[in-house]
């Protein structure tokens, strides 16, 4: 109910790295001056491949409410096939934002009354030299472009830090390519 908190819900599949992506954004947001950062994963029932979501709340002030997000300002979807299984926009605020990893053009993803941003993160990650299916770094580039909440350079630094020893440059590159190739609807 606090107006100062930006609520971002991340949808992915177990094992896809949605929690890592949200954690990277949490770190970058903190560096960028958001002193209140809380990231709460779905609890207890994670399974590989099953739909999962995680709640990320950011604010300039300390956050006290740790409960899951029910009325997000924006949702980030790591896998377009989730759209057939999960109502990813449940509770999304009016004129809320959907950031989607999907292979098709904007018009293929109609969400009436909401803003949509699409990037083919799966493809861009391969272009960056990552194995097929690694999307949790690239999606951050699309998130940065669509939201403008945190500077892409700060996010890329946070990506490189998180992926130390796990292809940090290629993960950073995936985010940058996705950043440059995100289509944002009206």
């Amino acid at each position: 109910m606090r107006k100062d908190i930006i609520e971002i819900r991340w949808h992915g599949r177990g094992g896809q790295g949605a929690i890592t992506a949200a954690k990277i954004v949490a770190n970058a947001a903190f560096v960028a001056g958001y002193k209140g950062v809380v990231m709460a994963p779905t609890f207890g029932t994670e399974r590989r491949g099953a739909p999962v979501f995680t709640s990320l709340k950011i604010s300039k002030a300390k956050i006290y409410d740790l409960s899951p997000i029910t009325t997000p300002d924006m949702v980030v979807v790591l896998d377009h096939t989730l759209l057939e299984e999960v109502n990813v926009v449940a509770g999304l605020k009016e004129n809320g934002l959907v950031v989607l990893n999907g292979p098709r053009p904007l018009a293929a993803y109609p969400f009436p009354g909401m803003r949509v941003a699409v990037s083919d993160v799966t493809k861009h990650a391969v272009e960056a030299g990552l194995p097929a299916g690694i999307v949790n770094s690239g999606i951050i580039g699309a998130f940065a472009k669509a939201t403008g909440l945190v500077d892409i350079d700060i996010l890329v630094q946070a990506i490189e830090k998180e992926f130390v020893g796990k292809k940090p440059e290629k993960n950073a590159k995936a985010a940058r390519i996705a950043f440059d190739n995100t289509d944002i609807g009206g």
């Binding site: 109910m1 606090r2 770190n27 903190f30 709460a40 609890f43 006290y64 740790l66």
Partner: protein
Amino acid sequence: MHIIEAGNVAAAIGVKLSRAQVIAAYPITPQTPLTEKLSEFVESGELEAQYIPVESEHSAMAVCIAASTAGARAFTATSANGLLYMVEQLHWAVGARLPVVMCVANRGIGAPWTVWNDQQDTISQRDVGWIQLYCNDHQQIIDSVIKAFKLAQTVSVPVMVCYDGYLLSHTYMPFEQPEQSKVDAFLPAFTPKHFLDPENPGNFNTVTLPDIRLDVDGIMAPGYIEIRHNLQEDLRAALDTYVTIDKEFEKEFGRGGNPFVEEYKCEDAEFVAVCIGSLSYQLRDVVDIMRDDQVKIGVMGVQMYRPFPDQAITQALAGKKCVIVFEKALSYGNQGALYADIKSALYSSEKKPRIHNYILGLGGREIKTQHLLDALAESCTTPDTFGDSPRWIGLKLQE
């Protein structure tokens, strides 16, 4: 330096900074990532300790008892049924006056199975004699672990550091990591007065008789009841000791000042919500909403539950119009344990407030801000209509 990590990792870093020497643990949700992190620290050499994997929680505490008896700084962690499986050893650790430290990621107790948060596990252990500290966020977890080792070795009583499972154990938030050199200054290496030493053989925890008797050196030794009396006296004295330790910690690290209770907008409040753990922070947002509607309300989190800081609590609550106690645990067949303890503390007070009891969040039932608002609104508008039985929040009973 600030980092953003889960509460279990905050606890693990606190244990590493405290230079625990023996760690024995059995994994149980939601404590597991804490023990995994500690085993990583030991494997990588970041923490010079013996990590002893065991086949049960009972053995985990038995190993900690043995290690602590030999003078080592010992640590374990558990949750829920794991805590209950070690109960016999919990009593032994405190009776033997061993400064073991244990983290408990609070979880509901089976049957029926639940892996989610409430506080029945540790609250049900309030009468064991362990000191119990509770945390509201990750900063308090890491700080409390460090303070717990100091408190345990100063008063020779084991300490539980409790934090809400999942809500804190698995949630990520920023916290400051104390510097190792400062922690070393605050918590130097420790040699107990008495420990198991092959060079100086001695008897430990021999059988006592109902009366006092001469020991092997011909000195009159206390009997069981004297030893238990001393435990009670030392626990009550530990309240003052913890104030001193908290002050030392604040001087070194700049955080502290609320060893027993943490108050928010209580000073001019007519109504005070009271609870244990992260819920007290969630209630701050509720208090702010009600303050906007001109309700004079505050919230108080209880940070130390045993020994019970009755004076601090009486000082904070006496003279208020109404005290509303929210609990994620219940003394079944009676009332919330914290509610009963607070009532008892206020009994001798001249200005007794009305006092209400709500039970909520058992087994991880989501605690909605609106439910808290509704409950507090009812308590504040009709404080005289509540009986002594607890009311339940968020129940979905089917007719």
